[in-house]
Structure formats: structure tokens, C-alpha cells
């Protein structure tokens, strides 16, 4: 919206009088003035101008945010609206006769000023109505806030804004349809926008309460916050450019690195030397000083959680996962931890720091140990050897969160099956490595966690194909079992193994074995055996026609029944097969994950069983709701199960004979 230089007032007057000079208008004007009288006519005219003003503001500025809006509006009122108004008043005064342009009086300065104020307040109302959209599209809409700010002077206006915004939030954001990322994103934008609107943070503290409350109820909030903090802030520009909702709140990472810590510090009202001190706004809540800290994005997002511990714990879990990945460097993680340390202090993040140090130290240790134990190989001539290389990350168990598959702190025999047995050649190397470590650190012992890590595999097939990928240890173990020791693999039959065999050999649950096999099926390395049930065969030769791959999924369909397929058909069916195989692998992996989760839940239940037993032993018989309530109180981190689940659980305990039911009460047997 470019600001036009004001044209000659005379020219505009000419134009208007010209427009009014048609016969029909002249006639009706005269008629109206004659019938209604001057006073009534002016009243009606005032109503019309009022409406025109609102309509114009809504039409011209809705959804348009830039610095020129205000200038444009001033121009419009000064040079368009006021001229029209003065012409009309003149016409009415003269009994409906359109005057010559020269006779129209110039409106007084005060008059124009009044029109301007009216127009600004219309704009203000529009912007307040749009405030939610302004926040949603934050950054591009920054000028919208400037339209609101100048009129935000009375307590009434402030209250109107905060109430209006809170209601909009309630109806448009805080419902099950909004994803947690979205809500967090808007919360962050709200903080930024309101910081511009009201630097003291009073308004923000009034609108943010509900959002914070709602975010606390969402389970995935903390995960998203931590993931966001650890995200790569450089992706933020891309994300903005592509204008799509990503699942990661990289804004948080950006905030963390760019925030000036001192800006968040509240002005201390006890500082007698502060000559810029001003009292809190009249609508401030009594503990305003406290809520002012919510102006800081990171601080307010982190303070969503009732304690630092919850946050640090989640941070550890995410950090552990990231550190265990095979990465070149961990600079980003280090910098995030350093930034968080400024906020939380060293003590709270001590564990995280140890984790980082572990990973960095192990790189050095790894080199030394490998050298000492003669494990060091030149990368050049390892190509033909079947000997795998191992590298280890040495973690201080006490400082890491419990990792999947690591020995649980509480004994449970059923955990045994989780441990997967790596191939012998790995075991051998491991022993050497262990010796190396124990030579180096006399007092410490190395315990291997076979379920974690990555394995780089390189497979070569009879038809000369090679395949290279990074997979999980158990998947590598499965594919290793298909390894053909014979050099002349071309002569022998491709190896076929059943899932149950593999399961006993590797001490892995069958679901995991099957999921690994399906993964390799999707990569066209294995195929389900055609004659043995639940077995897989190495696909040494790629089938000549891609269409045969359909057999890989659906044994009942025989590819030979479609001899007339065109090439395109075959290609598409191969693609479909690929998709289906991927999906099958995914499903199997999901099932495996679900099983692991169920197992973890069972392990947790064993602890809850102790709680229940101790409770019933010491407090005598109790009804179910009471047990649920007590568990909620004493179990660290809260008791995550519903009353129904607890009832089932207690029924299990009754079956096992530890507990008996007496009426509605449970009692120790």
C-alpha cells in the first residue's frame, strides 16, 4: 500500500461535486432534505459515515500487516473521508443544492483529528479481533502489533484484549484437534507477540495461563520441548521458507542460542538507584514480578513442568539416544548443554555432562584399546576379510538413563530372552576389547549391551550385487546367520533358515527375527522360502523379471500366472510389492516395539506389586480406589494406570495367591 502524495484538495472537490451533479442525485438530495429536515439528515449521515469507516478499515486492512497501514489510514481520513463529509454537510446546509467546489468550507483541524481517532480505533478493533491470526503468522505480522499498541492505554482496553484473546485461544487452539507442536508453536509466538505488545508481561500472564495448563495435560509436550531444544537451529530458515508445519520446534533451539539472558531479568523494585522505575500496570496481578519471567520463551516453556527434574530426565533420555548414534561430532549437543547450564546451573545437568564426556572419551579410549589389542586394521585391505571391526562407546552406567535392553535394576527372569547373542566372531573381538579396557582401567569392568549400537553391513551376492547399509545389531545378527562360509557360493544352494531356528540361535524373540527378515525382504536381500513355512532364503540372484517379486509377499500368487504382463505392468507390480514389503517390515517392527513395551510395562508392574504388597501388609485390607490413590501418592513419577487397569492387575495378584478379596477390600493372603 503505497502512500500517495495528497492531490490537490480542489481537484478532489471538483471530482466529488461532479459526481453529485447528475440530475437524479440532485433531485433526490433536495427531496430528502426537504422531507427530513437538516438535523435528521445529519443524524442519518453520521450513521452512514460510521458504517463506512468500519467497512473501509475491514476491507482495506484485514489480513494486511505493514508499517504503512497507519499512514494510509491517516491519508484516507484526512484527504478522502473528511472531504466527503464536508461536501455533504455543505449540501445539507444548503437545502440539497450541490455547492460549487470553491464554496465548500475547509474542515477544522480538531474535526479531522477526531475523524482520525475514530478511524484508528476501528483499526484497533479489527486488529484485536485478528490478534490470534497475527500470532499464528507471527513474524510476518509484526506490524499488526504496532497497530494495537498505541491504543492499549486504558485498563478497559487491556482487559478487552486479554479476554478476547483468551476466548479465541480456547475455541481455536485448545481442543483435541490441535497437535501439541502446533500449540507449543503458537504459545511461543504468543510470548513473542505479547512481548511487543506489553513489555511488562502483564497481558501475557493473563492469556498464557490456560495454554500452559492445557500443555501440561498433554503427554508429549515434554518430549517435543526437549526435541526442539536439541534441534538444529539452522533448519529454521528452511522451515519458514517451505512454510509447513514440521514436527520439530526448532524455534526453541534458536531461542536458546540467541537469547540474551539479562533481558529476561526483572527490574528489581528494591533497586533504589533505578531512576527508570515505574509502578506495575494497574491491572497487574499482585505477584507480577514472578510472572514477568514468562516473557522469556525458553524459561516459560521449561517452567511448564512442575520440576526441573522431569525436564532433565527427559533431556537425558533424548540426549542418550542422540549420543549413541554414529555421528561425526557432538558439537550441537555440547552447545545445547552449555546453554542450558547457564540457565539451570551445573549441578542439574551434571549427568548430561558426564554422558557427553563418556562419548567423547570413548572415542579416544577406543583408539588406544584397538591399538593395544592389535585390533587396528588398515581400512585398505579389510575388504575381503570376514572379520568385522568393532568400536565401542563406554558409558558410565550410573549417569545414563536406563537404556532399552540394558540390565534392569530390579531382577526379573523374563528379561533373559531380551539378550541377544551376537555371532562368535564378534564375541571373540569383544573379549579382546574387554581385556584391553581392563588393562587400561584396572578397577573397572566392561559390561556389553548388545542391543544398542549400529552395524555397518556389506553384503555381496552370487550375481555380483553388493549391498551396504547401517542396521541395528539384531538385524545384523539375523543377516549374519545367512552368511555363506563357502567361497564358491555360486555353486551351493542359497541358504534358507527358519524363523524359529534363528530365534533360538540368536536368543531373540521370533517377532524381532521376523521383522528383521522382512526388512531385508524389502531390500531384496531375502525372500520368503517357497516350500518351508516361516522361513527365508537369500536372494542370491535377482529375479529376471521384477514381477516375480510378488511371490515374496503373497505365496498364493504365482507370477507365472501372468505371462502376458507388459513391462510397465511388471514394473508397477514390482513397485507395489516393494511398498507392501516395506509396510510388512514396518508392521513387524511395530509389533516388536509393542512387545518390548509390554515387557517393560510388566517389569514396572513387578515393582507396583511390591508397592501393593507393602501397602496391604502395613495398612491392612483396602478397597480399590484407596489403593489407586495411595499408589498415585507414593509411586515416584505418579501411577500411570487407570482404575480398570489396576483392577485387572490386582485380579492377577489374587490369582497368584498373594492377595485375597474380602468383599470390596483387597487383603494380603
Amino acid at each position: 500500500m503505497a502512500v500517495v502524495t495528497p492531490p490537490d484538495r480542489q481537484a478532489r472537490l471538483n471530482m466529488i461535486t461532479q459526481m453529485l451533479s447528475t440530475d437524479s442525485i440532485k433531485r433526490s438530495m433536495r427531496l430528502w432534505v426537504a422531507q427530513l429536515g437538516t438535523v435528521r439528515m445529519k443524524q442519518i449521515f453520521a450513521v452512514v459515515v460510521d458504517k463506512v469507516m468500519s467497512d473501509f478499515v475491514a476491507w482495506a486492512y484485514a489480513g494486511t500487516y505493514n508499517e504503512e497501514v497507519q499512514d494510509h489510514l491517516r491519508y484516507w481520513t484526512e484527504h478522502v473521508l473528511s472531504v466527503w463529509v464536508s461536501v455533504f454537510l455543505c449540501v445539507t446546509d444548503q437545502g440539497g443544492v450541490v455547492p460549487a467546489p470553491i464554496n465548500v468550507p475547509v474542515p477544522g483541524k480538531a474535526q479531522v483529528e477526531r475523524y482520525k481517532n475514530m478511524a484508528y480505533s476501528r483499526l484497533w478493533a479489527l486488529r484485536v479481533d485478528e490478534l490470534f491470526d497475527i500470532v499464528v503468522d507471527w513474524d510476518d505480522t509484526i506490524a499488526g502489533i504496532d497497530d494495537i499498541k498505541p491504543l492499549l492505554t486504558t485498563p478497559q482496553a487491556r482487559q478487552y484484549v486479554s479476554q478476547k484473546f483468551a476466548t479465541t485461544l480456547q475455541t481455536r487452539l485448545l481442543h483435541p484437534g490441535a497437535s501439541t507442536v502446533e500449540i507449543l508453536q503458537i504459545y511461543v509466538s504468543t510470548i513473542r507477540a505479547f512481548k511487543g505488545l506489553d513489555p511488562r508481561g502483564v497481558l501475557l500472564s493473563k492469556v498464557s495461563g490456560r495454554v500452559r495448563q492445557y500443555l501440561r495435560e498433554r503427554d508429549d509436550t515434554i518430549k517435543l520441548v526437549v526435541a526442539g531444544l536439541l534441534a538444529d537451529p539452522s533448519t529454521i530458515a528452511e522451515k519458514r521458507a517451505s512454510d509447513q508445519n514440521s514436527d520439530v520446534l526448532s524455534e526453541l533451539a534458536w531461542e536458546l542460542q540467541h537469547r540474551d539472558l539479562n533481558a529476561g531479568k526483572n527490574v528489581n523494585s528494591m533497586d533504589w538507584n533505578n531512576m527508570k522505575w515505574q509502578p506495575e500496570p494497574i491491572d497487574a496481578v499482585p505477584d507480577q514480578a514472578k510472572s514477568a519471567k514468562h516473557m522469556d520463551v525458553i524459561g516459560s516453556v521449561i517452567s511448564l513442568f512442575e520440576s526441573k527434574d522431569v525436564f532433565v530426565k527427559e533431556l537425558q533420555v533424548t540426549l542418550a539416544e542422540r549420543l549413541l548414534r554414529n555421528k561425526e561430532d557432538y558439537d550441537q549437543e555440547t552447545s545445547v548443554i552449555e546453554h542450558l547450564k547457564i540457565r539451570f546451573g551445573d549441578a542439574a545437568l551434571q549427568a548430561c555432562e558426564v554422558m557427553l564426556k563418556d562419548v567423547l572419551d570413548s572415542r579416544r579410549l577406543d583408539q588406544v584399546i584397538r591399538k593395544d589389542q592389535g585390533l587396528l586394521q588398515d581400512h585398505g585391505d579389510t575388504e575381503d576379510t570376514q572379520e568385522p571391526e568393532i568400536h565401542a562407546k563406554i558409558l558410565s552406567r550410573l549417569f545414563w538413563p536406563s537404556l532399552p535392553g540394558s540390565t534392569p535394576a530390579y531382577g526379573d527372569d523374563s528379561e533373559e530372552e531380551q539378550r541377544f547373542k551376537p555371532p562368535l566372531s564378534i564375541l571373540h573381538q569383544r573379549d579382546l576389547y574387554e581385556q584391553g579396557f581392563e588393562n587400561l582401567k584396572q578397577t573397572r569392568k566392561l559390561t556389553w549391551n548388545d542391543n544398542l549400537g549400529q552395524v555397518e553391513i556389506e553384503l555381496s551376492f552370487a550375481d555380483g550385487r553388493t549391498y551396504h547399509d547401517e542396521v541395528l545389531p539384531y538385524q545384523a545378527g539375523v543377516i549374519y546367520a545367512f552368511n555363506n562360509e563357502d567361497e564358491d557360493s555360486t555353486l551351493t544352494e542359497p541358504i534358507t533358515r527358519t524363523v524359529s531356528d534363528l530365534s533360538t540361535e540368536l536368543t531373540l524373540p521370533t517377532t524381532l527375527v521376523r521383522s528383521a527378515c522382512l526388512l531385508f525382504v524389502s531390500k531384496r536381500i531375502l525372500q520368503p522360502s517357497s516350500n518351508i513355512h516361516d522361513a527365508f532364503t537369500v536372494l542370491e540372484h535377482l529375479p529376471p523379471i521384477p514381477g516375480t517379486l510378488t511371490t515374496a509377499l503373497d505365496p498364493s500368487t504365482n507370477s507365472t500366472t501372468f505371462p502376458t504382463h507388459t513391462n510397465a505392468d511388471l514394473a508397477s507390480s514390482a513397485a507395489a510389492a516393494q511398498v507392501a514389503a516395506d509396510r510388512a517390515a514396518e508392521l513387524a517392527a511395530q509389533q516388536a516395539a509393542k512387545e518390548a513395551e509390554a515387557k517393560e510395562k510388566r517389569a514396572k508392574m513387578a515393582v507396583y506389586q511390591q508397592f501393593v504388597m507393602a501397602m496391604l501388609t502395613n495398612q491392612g485390607a483396602m478397597p480399590l480406589p484407596r489403593i489407586a490413590m495411595m499408589l498415585g501418592m507414593v509411586v515416584p513419577g505418579g501411577f500411570p494406570f487407570s482404575n480398570e487397569e489396576l483392577r485387572e492387575f490386582l485380579a492377577g495378584m489374587v490369582r497368584d495367591g498373594g492377595v485375597v478379596m474380602l468383599g470390596a477390600n483387597y487383603k494380603k493372603a
Binding site: A409, Y410, V607, Q610, F611, M613, A614, M615, T617, N618, Q619, G620, R626, M629, M630, M633, V634, P636
Partner: protein
């Protein structure tokens, strides 16, 4: 006196008076935290014959514990209930432990008070509910007759063990029923 028994950085009297309001809140929190972890430890490594749990109104500073009498003692298979009251500066001072179940024992009086050195001047901050319960369990089998609270029991324990046994069983009441 051991160092472990005094809280670190004990503030001076004046400071204490000033800080009292907020300090006591922080204190209760740390006590609750400590008790929570003790409870978790008890749940993670259950010891046969002893058990403890916060009381019914969810007050962490008040626990109820149960000891099952050790096998080769007159108390074999008896359920003995105890009451633990933790002070605000726990673990720097010992909990107050009382037997709820009426018990006949040389070192325990008729209102359940216990004469045990680790609950008095020998208390160390590294003791826990579990160690107290284990000590009490062994005290049942091996009373300290040299400093009795119940003189008659101490004499009977040494002179007429059968009578002692009879009195133990006669005095016992199972609180659950």
C-alpha cells in the same frame, strides 16, 4: 559426636530465626525426597520378614512397618506392627519408632518404646528404615539384657526361657484381626 549427625552448614541462631519460614519448607521437601527414595529402595529389593509403607493419609513423614518374627525365636511368625515418625531434619536425627503390637521383650516397654542404641545416640545419617527394621528384627532374637526396659522379661529370658516364651505369646495380639 559424629559429623554425620549434624546437618551441614548449620546456620547461626540469628540466621535460623530469620530463615525459619522458608527453610522449614525446603527441609520438608528434602526429607520427603529422601523418604521417597528409601521407599523405592525397599520396593526394589524387598527383604523377607520386613516391610514398611507410608501411612494411610499419605503423609510421608509417618510410616507403618511390619516385622515378622524370626523363625528360631519365641516371636516366630508373629506379625509385629511398628510406627515410624520422621523428624523434620531426618536423616540427621533418628526417627521415633514405637511398637504398635503389644510385645513382651526385655528392651521394649509396655507402651512399645524401644531401647536401641542406633535409634538414640548411635544414629548415623546413612541408616535407613531398612537398617532400623533389620536391627529390630535381630533384637527380637538377641535382646540386650544388660540394659532392660522390662526387667522381668530380661530375668525370665536368662533364667526361665519356657516361661518367657509363654509370656511372649500371651502378650501378643494380632492387630490385623
Amino acid at each position: 559426636m559424629d559429623f554425620e549427625n549434624s546437618a551441614p552448614n548449620q546456620p547461626t541462631m540469628a540466621e535460623q530465626a530469620k530463615l525459619n519460614g522458608s527453610a522449614s519448607v525446603a527441609n520438608t521437601q528434602s526429607v520427603t525426597k529422601r523418604l521417597q527414595s528409601e521407599l523405592m529402595a525397599l520396593m526394589m529389593s524387598p527383604t523377607p520378614g520386613i516391610s514398611a509403607f507410608p501411612d494411610a493419609d499419605g503423609n510421608m513423614l509417618h510410616w507403618i512397618a511390619t516385622i515378622v518374627g524370626p523363625n528360631d525365636t519365641p516371636y516366630a511368625d508373629l506379625n509385629l506392627k511398628l510406627d515410624f515418625q520422621f523428624p523434620a531434619d531426618y536423616p540427621y536425627s533418628p526417627p521415633t519408632v514405637l511398637f504398635k503390637t503389644p510385645i513382651y521383650h526385655p528392651n521394649i516397654d509396655f507402651s512399645g518404646r524401644i531401647c536401641l542404641d542406633i535409634l538414640k545416640d548411635k544414629w548415623v545419617a546413612s541408616y535407613s528404615v531398612q537398617t532400623v527394621l533389620l536391627s529390630l528384627q535381630s533384637l527380637l532374637g538377641e535382646p540386650n539384657n544388660a540394659s532392660p526396659l522390662n526387667n522381668e522379661a530380661a530375668i525370665l529370658h536368662e533364667k526361665d526361657f519356657e516361661e518367657y516364651k509363654r509370656k511372649v505369646l500371651a502378650r501378643h495380639v494380632d492387630l490385623d484381626d
